[in-house]
């Protein structure tokens, strides 16, 4: 029996080729995702391990973590006086004061930013290589004094920098000119950060604002002393105001932050892989169904010759498992290729990974084979069961007539019930007040509506195809009629083929609805809340030196200027419980720039010195009124009690000003000295021209390429651009599922052409031209694809609508249906149909007429 199975597998290898391709693609995507994220993880692990000191001492801070240092531009520091306290301890081989500050800017002499803006960080570090330094000076000299800098070799070669070249560094205190005096090379893979080394004094003054402080004190353990032993000796000396961590702890903390981010990416990618797998399942199921139908006689003969049901069943399943095994192997190989390609691709975008360090862990291999083999055997199970039910009589019977199949009534009932439940869930999601619960309802609704539509698909095939292909006969004559009827011939098959496409298109449609609703809502939000003529901000929202605000205020034509700061902090309740938040600082006049809906007091009274403007949720929860004291713990570690001077309406206020306290900049700086601006609002002076002021500001700020001057239109454009980018990324990831769906259309057509060989022969005999025959196959494909598009768009619009209603409370108030995308999907589906038909149409038209007529 196994021999017969193998032989049958080989005999049908052509017909299985596309299913195999679907398995290969799905497995490749899964494997590539795992290998890619593992590679990122291991590259950073190595980096963290090599850059962590044996033991490091940092200031302990409840509200601002060490990896959060670029928020507000000020960081917790360690005084230099700590060094002599620990230097003499037994087991300390070396002590190094370290200054390390992310979020600085390096520009060339033309004020063009070097290093990625919005990508990998640019980090300013003091040049003080310890015994186990991760970098070596490979050319030039170490920096000494204000005007010198050493840059990492990757950045140097990427931007073609040369020794002696003038550059500019912009730190917390502002920009200053430097010359490139040396090049440092990492002895592990640097995934893309731009490293700027300054001499210690400069780094302290320009990046931290003071001499005599460090961001950490790094200790090297003497021979024979473990990191843990050293930590335990240092900790009691420095006391509880400092965190003392071993290299392992530091690396682990860093890896954890990254790991959380990586696992989000991994889950998202695996989600898309899952969709592709789902589509692959429908393709394989369809293939095996068709093969079983076409082999009815052969299988009947096997039964007649004495094969048991189980044997027939097993033979189909073994065939599927073989397909899965071979497909997984090829998929795994393709996955390696894709991962290497992706690594090359993102290297261009600034993240440098080494292909030679590609992480192929055994769970990846297990997952690849599990996906491939399970997917194929599960998909082949139903057809296999059907095959085993074929009676020996089938060998004697004439081939099937069309229009057969079990009654669809049960299917209709089940499908309608599932759809009704799904609709209920979606409506529930759209109207539920509790966001978390609504999210669960939405998820359930999406899944059930998909399943319901797949169940009921065969029943929808006839009406929908009559609708979308109804004009075919009039336009394309008998060829149109034939193609439409062929598509209707086996509604189950047509609908299974189309539903694969439906899944991808439904996601495209729903996401495009959400995306354009987001853009529209943001537009409305800006119109409603932003009153400022111009806004100056860093493209990534990072703070910038205060000289930017000074420059803005000094520019002619500028009227009112309001400068804002964001710092980490916590609201401390009477019972001592802390609620972490962002504490916003503002100079006077915020109400002229942002419309804030107030419940009590005004923006001006709330942001007067010593006062705080707080949100209504927090006020109500803690029984605060105008005049009540409110305690805020600042990121500097100091805490202060202010007076409530205003209460805004938490629910209706623009993002970022919900329950976050807003206080006067002057008050904020009492507690957080050196807090940097991260936004500057500008109104033009009366009589000044906005466009002229904008270009004057842009010119004045040329030395600070990290900030941009934008008006409201620019903001809308910026957000639209970001949304589009995200959507395009998602569409790109959905492309795999859509490609597999197209393979499904090709597959169905190819197998149908084989099934209909005799008909094709007859048509050719009575005078159908080859071109007409090709047209017939093409139109059938187009009609199947359009069927999938109609279902997908209907479903996707429903999902998008439910999601928009659900998120309306979160600010997604406007519904926008992107008609251009919808039309593009329909046209795209028709094109997909045409492409899918290329092969099968050619094959059909090449059939020899007489052979075809004589075909069994």
């Amino acid at each position: 029996m196994l021999k017969a199975t193998l032989r049958s597998f080989l005999a049908h290898k052509g017909r299985l080729a596309l299913s195999m391709l679907a398995v290969v693609l799905s497995v490749a995507f899964v494997a590539e995702t795992l290998m890619f994220t593992d590679t990122i993880g291991s590259t950073f692990d190595r980096l963290f391990r090599s850059t962590s000191a044996d033991v490091s001492v940092t200031a302990h801070n409840d509200v601002a973590g060490r990896n959060d240092q670029n928020f507000s531009g000020t960081v917790p520091t360690v005084p230099a006086s700590l060094i002599p306290q620990v230097a003499h301890l037994p087991g300390v081989a070396a002590v190094n004061g370290r200054v390390s500050m992310a979020g600085i800017v390096l520009t060339d002499a033309n004020n063009k930013s070097i290093g990625a803006i919005g990508g990998a960080p640019t980090i300013g570090i003091n040049w003080s290589p310890g015994p186990n330094s991760p970098v070596d000076l490979t050319s030039g000299a170490a920096p000494t004094g204000d005007g010198q800098v050493v840059v990492d070799s990757d950045t140097v070669s990427k931007h073609h920098l040369v020794l002696g070249q003038p550059l500019r560094v912009i730190g917390a205190t502002g920009g200053f000119p430097v010359r490139l005096t040396g090049i440092a090379t990492f002895n592990t893979t640097n995934p893309g950060a731009t490293l700027v080394f300054l001499d210690t004094g400069t780094a302290q003054r320009k990046l931290l604002g003071h001499e005599g402080v460090f961001t950490s004190v790094d200790l090297t353990a003497a021979r024979g002393v473990t990191n843990e032993q050293l930590r335990d000796r240092v900790a009691p000396v420095v006391g509880s105001a400092y965190d003392v961590k071993t290299a392992e702890q530091t690396a682990k903390d860093a890896a954890q932050t990254l790991g959380a981010f990586l696992s989000v990416i991994k889950d998202a990618l695996l989600g898309f892989a899952g969709i592709a797998v789902l589509v692959g399942v429908s393709l394989i199921l369809n293939t095996f169904s068709m093969l079983v139908a076409q082999r009815t006689r052969e299988l009947g003969l096997m039964r007649a010759l004495g094969a048991s049901r189980e044997q027939v069943n097993r033979s189909v399943l073994v065939e599927a498992a073989l397909l899965g095994l071979i497909g997984s192997t090829l998929g795994l190989l393709l996955g390696v290729g894709l991962a290497l390609g992706l690594i090359k691709l993102i290297a261009r975008g600034g993240m440098v990974l080494k292909g030679s360090q590609l992480a192929v862990h055994w769970p990846t291999i297990v997952a690849a084979y599990a996906v491939g083999v399970i997917v194929t055997t599960v998909s082949a199970y139903l057809p296999a069961r059907r095959a085993s039910r074929i009676s020996p009589m089938a060998a004697l019977r004439e081939a099937d007539t069309p229009g057969r199949g079990a009654p669809l009534r049960i299917r209709a009932v089940v499908g309608l019930v599932v759809l009704a439940v799904a609709a209920g869930l979606l409506v529930g999601a759209a109207t539920d007040k509790d966001l978390g619960q609504a999210g669960i309802l939405l998820g359930g609704g999406v899944l059930l509506s998909l399943i319901g539509l797949i169940i009921i698909g065969p029943l929808l095939a006839t009406p929908v195809i009559k609708l979308v292909g109804g004009w075919f006969p009039r336009v394309f004559g008998p060829v149109g009629t034939l193609s439409q009827r062929n598509a209707l011939r086996n509604p189950r098959r047509t609908s299974a083929t189309a539903s694969a496409l439906m899944i991808g298109l439904a996601l495209v449609a729903s996401l495009s609805v959400v995306g354009s609703s987001m853009a529209a809502s943001f537009d409305a939000q800006i119109d409603k809340t932003i009153g400022a003529d111009l806004i100056v901000q860093n493209s990534t929202g990072l703070p910038f030196p205060n000289e930017v605000g000074d420059t803005v205020a000094a520019t002619p034509g500028v009227g009112l200027v309001v400068r804002g700061q964001g710092t980490r902090g916590a609201l401390v309740a009477a019972d001592g419980t802390q609620q972490k938040t962002v504490v916003v600082g503002t100079s006077p006049g915020l109400d002229k720039m942002v419309r804030i809906e107030m419940r009590d007091g005004t923006v001006a009274t709330g942001t007067a010195p010593g006062r705080a403007l707080i949100g209504s949720h927090y006020a109500d929860a803690h029984g605060l009124h105008l005049g009540s004291p409110v305690t805020i713990l600042f990121q500097s570690g100091k805490s202060g009690t202010l007076t409530v001077g205003g209460i805004d309406v938490t629910d209706t206020n623009p993002g970022g000003l919900g329950d976050e306290p807003v206080i006067a900049s002057s008050t904020l700086r009492q507690y957080v000295p050196g807090a940097l601006d991260d936004i500057v609002f500008v109104n033009v002076a009366p009589g000044a021209n906005k466009e002229q002021v904008k270009s004057a500001l842009t010119t004045a700020l040329a030395k600070d390429p990290q900030v941009q001057v934008r008006d409201q239109t620019d903001y809308k454009k910026l957000v639209r651009g970001q949304i589009d980018l995200l959507l395009n990324l998602v569409y790109g990831l959905l492309a795999l599922a859509i490609i597999i769906a197209i393979l499904g259309v090709v597959n169905t057509l190819a197998l149908s052409v084989i099934e209909r060989t005799r008909e094709i022969g007859l048509l050719r005999a009575i005078g159908l031209a080859r071109s007409q025959l090709r047209q017939m196959v093409r139109l059938e494909a187009v009609v199947i694809a359009l069927f999938g598009a109609v279902l997908g768009l209907g479903l996707g619009l429903g999902w998008g609508l439910a999601a928009q209603r659900l998120l309306a409370a979160k600010g997604l108030q406007s519904l926008a249906v992107p008609w251009s995308t919808i039309i593009a999907v329909v046209v795209g589906a028709a094109v997909v149909g045409l492409l899918a038909a290329l092969g099968p149409a050619l094959r059909a038209s090449r059939l020899d007429v007489l052979d075809a007529i004589a075909h069994e």
């Binding site: 229009g403 008998p478 009575i766 005078g767 080859r770």
Partner: protein, 259 residues
């Protein structure tokens, strides 16, 4: 009715070989034949004698390996696939032994299909006449699987006639039918020749079927070995018996000196 003027189709020195070298089969061996316009010609002969092959070559479905085939005065060997397709569509009608109809089309749509493919409207009066004569009036909206074998063959004949082709080829059109349904189909083919001047070529094994024809050509081993004008079933049967004896002797003596 006697032969008149130009033949509807003719073959000169027609050869058809399958395969090559030692395994080559010569299905047609230098056949010269004329199909008279406006007559009903039957082709008979033992299984494997080349009847279907001859018909396929005359109808432009198959490419001869030698000789010439004319439909009217068009020589087929020079025609490409497109021209041959057009020739079949516009000038030839077919009735096969089985699987004549497209399962997705109704009887009526099947009947008008060749005209529809060509983008011609089928003459409504003519269509009604054909349908009435074949007694298909109440079956036009049915799909093939809802029709009996005889009804299916009648639809196929109606399709062949509806486009008023120059020539109709029928390969054992009654092979799958009982004698009554067979006689109906044959009677209609006969009437289409007598009353409409249609030219029909039919391959058959059945002497009764052959008796509907004006002329019977006998084929053996790829050659025309005999012809019988104005056949009756008995005359055909008697000819076949003789011919069987001769055919048998030919099989028994493979030498070329036979005949």
């Amino acid at each position: 009715m006697a032969a008149s003027g130009e033949p509807a189709a003719r073959a000169v020195g027609l050869c058809k070989a399958y395969g090559s070298g030692d395994t080559a089969v010569l299905a047609l061996d230098r056949v010269d034949v004329e199909i008279d316009a406006g007559r009903f010609t039957a082709i008979m002969g033992p299984s494997g004698s080349g009847k279907s092959t001859l018909m396929h070559c005359l109808a432009g479905l198959d490419k001869p390996t030698g000789g010439e085939v004319y439909v009217g005065d068009t020589e087929l060997s020079r025609l490409g696939d497109k021209a041959l397709t057009r020739l079949r569509r516009d000038r030839i009608g077919f009735v096969f032994q089985a699987f004549n109809l497209l399962p997705t089309l109704t009887a009526e749509e099947n009947i008008t299909l060749p005209g529809d493919i060509a983008g011609r409207r089928t003459d409504a009066d003519w269509l009604r006449q054909v349908v009435e004569t074949l007694n298909l009036g109440d079956r036009l909206r049915h799909r093939p699987h809802e029709l009996s074998g005889g009804q299916q063959q009648r639809v196929a004949v109606a399709r062949a006639l509806a486009a008023r082709p120059q020539l109709i080829f029928a390969d054992e059109p009654t092979g799958n039918l009982d004698s009554r349904s067979g006689a109906e189909v044959l009677g209609f083919l006969r009437r289409s020749v007598d009353e409409l001047g249609q030219t029909v070529v039919m391959v058959t094994h059945d002497p009764n079927a052959a008796s509907f024809a004006d002329l019977v050509l006998f084929l053996a081993d790829g050659r025309i070995v005999d012809r019988l004008e104005g056949p009756t079933a008995d005359a055909v049967l008697e000819r076949m018996r003789r011919f069987d004896v001769r055919g048998g002797s030919q099989v028994a003596q493979p030498a070329p000196d036979a005949d």
